[in-house]
Amino acid sequence: MGTILGTMALIRRYRVPGMPHLRAHVADLGLACCAVEFVAAVSRGLLVPEPTEDASAAVGPEADQQTVDVLIVSGTLTHALEPALLRVWEGLTQPRAALAFGACTISGGPYWDSYAVAPGIDHAIPVTRYVPGCPPRPEALIEALAGLAESSVTAGKAS
């Protein structure tokens, strides 16, 4: 299972309308209830799936340098999945930023006391923005991406 999750196959890429320099990577890791809000965000057009072919070619290397790769993690991260998440994070090009979407990814959420659940994804990777909620509303995702876009513009780049 670890090897399957270690590949980038479970990453889906999205563009954010109105925020051209963000490219959202959605990791289907530890998939749990929060993922339902992604479906809601996508069905409302808040996120647009990126065409798989020629995406980087169309954007070009220069534009790509300004693009911030945002890893959005939702759902419950178990200790067993931590290495897989780390591998996905390390596979992203810089500048990159991780967004913790939902109580589980921030603190373990309802499972904060569980022996098997990580007390937040920042246990495994550095997190730039935390989105509260169980699950957060789709609007919260856009609010967080906007906050991230702003900070990445002011900071010049993300970590």
Binding site: I106, P110, Y130, A140, E143
Partner: protein, 142 residues
């Protein structure tokens, strides 16, 4: 939302006035329901500090233990009363939005209606500690 006006391709149709009126009514009812839903949205929870008696019920009923409070007791000696009354005075009250399930049990359980839902979106933060809201943040009328 559904477009109830006939578009150009429909213009050869003679719209039945009753049907159109009904459609308008349905659309309006839908809009009202949506506005109602937005106003009722469980965005975040606010605290009416003077109403809180520091009874600890919300703290103990919260399934994830994300509410913390501290208080002290004061003696109130009112003229004419036989002996002083003891009242609890709230000092600190925090909700950790990074843990909260937004389940509303605290709102339901509060006997003094000191906690209430607000439709405002609880914003994201760049540090976990910024998600811990104290009396000032919770008292904002949103």
């Amino acid at each position: 939302m559904r477009n109830v006006e006939p578009d150009e391709s429909d213009q050869h149709l003679q719209p039945d006035e009753q049907v159109v009126a009904q459609a308008h009514e349905t659309a309006q009812a839908h809009e009202t329901a949506q506005a109602h839903e937005t106003a009722q949205a469980h965005g975040t929870i606010i605290l009416d500090t003077p109403a809180c008696t520091s009874c600890m019920l919300c703290v103990r009923e919260c399934p994830v233990w994300c509410i913390e409070l501290s208080s002290h007791t004061e003696q109130i000696d009112e003229p004419g009363s036989r002996r002083p009354r003891s009242v609890a005075v709230l000092d600190t009250f925090t909700i950790d939005w990074g843990l909260c399930m937004f389940c509303g049990i605290c709102v339901e359980v509060c006997p003094f209606d000191a906690l209430a839902w607000s439709p405002a979106l609880q914003p994201s933060a760049s540090a976990k500690s910024d998600l811990v809201a104290g009396i000032d943040a919770l008292s904002i009328d949103r």
